[in-house]
Symmetry: C2
Subunit: 128 residues, 2 copies
DNA sequence: GTTGTTATTGCAATTAAATCGCATTAGCTT
DNA sequence: AAGCTAATGCGATTTAATTGCAATAACAAC
């Protein structure tokens, strides 16, 4: 299927690229200057994931967060670094660590997500 | 709060202990011999997690899976090994590997889950 | 620039996982 | 056996995400 560039989809992609971490659908929608329909945002994000432009991270709260790919090439589309999810400010950020997870023989890995939940330094000090 | 042992809660706990991996709420409910209400199963599982008897794993599908704790003591309640989630048969199993994930200074870790999605050996060979 | 095809959008309805309020039931203590 | 209250069942509700369908708008071809 041929893809088309719309103002909404480029706005979403720019948002993701400018963000300092992964964004939930809600964050994307609220940060958009122009109002874009809820389902449209979901479809745009799903399209990005499908096209390999964006990674989808499911945090411990069961919600989806989206971050643009870096260092990904078509042959090797991995996202094997851990993510930190602050349960207070909801921010999701990538941790600069590489994981090597081995699966038993015969298994086939499709994707891998690691999520650490807790409090980021800002929220941690604010709590005290 | 004082806990009480009911036939339902012990049945659920026995199921989890006997299972070869983490079970979703749906799996628990369908494997129970006696019919237990949906909300009750959820509440029983949440109670187990709250009491530190069971770990909750959120897979890439956004659903919750539950597995009894092993090697956990009150002072150190961790579940830092990866889980494999077969997207075909829905089975979730623990991978015998220990992860060491470092968070930036000032951060506080509450929990950590790693989920590898893909096909287990059974489903992988069945596909071919 | 105009036209035609069809990907994309907006809207409302829907699905699915998980939670909650409340009256009833049943564990545990005394 | 009695009393307190944790746990249950039921229905309604919340929330994230998806879907069907008609309307709109990208993009290619002319």
């Amino acid at each position: 299927m041929q893809r088309r560039n719309t103002s909404s989809s480029t706005a979403v992609f720019d948002l993701l690229k400018a963000a300092d971490g992964a964004l939930s659908h809600e964050m994307v929608e609220s940060r958009l200057r122009t109002s874009v329909n809820r389902s449209t945002v979901y479809r745009i994000l799903n399209r990005f994931v499908e096209d390999g432009l964006v990674h989808r991270v499911v945090a411990a709260d069961g919600r989806q967060y989206f971050a643009p790919c870096t260092d990904c090439v078509p042959e090797r589309h991995l996202h094997d670094h851990p993510h930190f999810h602050c349960v207070s400010c909801e921010r999701v950020e990538c941790l600069p660590q590489e994981l090597h997870i081995e699966v038993p023989a015969g298994y086939r890995t499709a994707e891998c997500t690691t999520t650490v939940s807790g409090y980021c330094s800002d929220c941690n000090t604010a709590k005290k």
